[in-house]
Symmetry: C2
Subunit: 136 residues, 2 copies
DNA sequence: ATAAACAGGACATAATTAGTCTTTTAGAGG
DNA sequence: CCTCTAAAAGACTAATTATGTCCTGTTTAT
């Protein structure tokens, strides 16, 4: 239960690698994929998602590649995970919608809300700077 | 990410219903399934798993059914969830095995260990007694 | 122009989820 | 002993999700 998918794991590895590079260093997808040991085509999809929401900036053509969208200390693990896995939802009933008719009376519901908050809180407090630290 | 499956949700609903009954009240699977709105054959599988590890006791034949295996205040939500969903593992690397070669140097690893601990802790502090409270 | 590199979409395969169905086993009652 | 009841067990199926690949297009530097 509650397992990060490979996509999520790859996403973290990829962007942490970027965060570990010198600022504004443009990196080739092929280099990142090799370095973090992820299929390049798969990582491409992941970085496209990052790019759309500005977590990374991409440059096409010769000399192109990827650069981190913001300073590493201003990107949290929560953002990275939610970018590719969607919101953290331990049970249907915490999506906000009328997903379960029992929500109003259910004693378990607040527990899941609590789990969601705690997990989000932990991930929100970790930045890419910390994750990229001393990769030497 | 991190979503409880229907099986897990059904498991909780089913055993909470049982916990809400008078002690030693034998309940028919068909009644439980109807009450908590779960396909009976599916719930059967779930209760078989409960039975194997003693969370419930089962009786066959006429007058048979299911009874809670221990007092509701001595069964935690964590036990119930892990019974049907397996251990709570937010990422492969916290299974204990040599699942990822980067574990020893990875800065993200301790974060997942932390997530696991926090979630387990929350679920372990909730008992069936609390979940079954005032179902009137 | 042309080659480098990312973007986007369609596709393929495997694994997991969410069940159903059928047969077997155990117990209660006549 | 016979039969009815109810759970146990295992085989099976359909739908969904995960995990990719492949092909074509677009942008950009030289
Ligand atoms: S925990 Fe309660 S509110 Fe949430 S899905 Fe289950 S029954 Fe519904
Ligand atoms: S978080 Fe780190 S240790 Fe865990 S699987 Fe990912 S790379 Fe490996």
């Amino acid at each position: 239960m509650m397992e990060l998918t490979r996509k999520g794991e790859y996403a973290i590895r990829g962007i942490v690698y970027l965060a570990a590079q010198p600022a504004e260093q443009v990196c080739l997808l092929s280099d990142i994929a090799t370095a973090v040991d992820v299929p390049q085509t798969f990582l491409a999809k992941i970085f496209q998602q990052f790019s759309k929401i500005g977590l990374v900036r991409s440059y096409r053509g010769t000399g192109g590649g990827f650069v981190l969208g913001r300073a590493p200390e201003r990107i949290t693990l929560l953002e990275v995970v939610e970018a590719v896995e969607g919101p953290i939802v331990p049970n249907r009933c915490v999506t906000g919608e009328g997903e379960c008719s029992r929500t109003s009376t259910c004693n378990a519901h607040p527990v899941w809300v609590n789990v969601q908050e705690q997990v989000r809180d932990i991930l929100a407090k970790v930045t890419l700077k910390e994750l990229a630290g001393n990769q030497d």
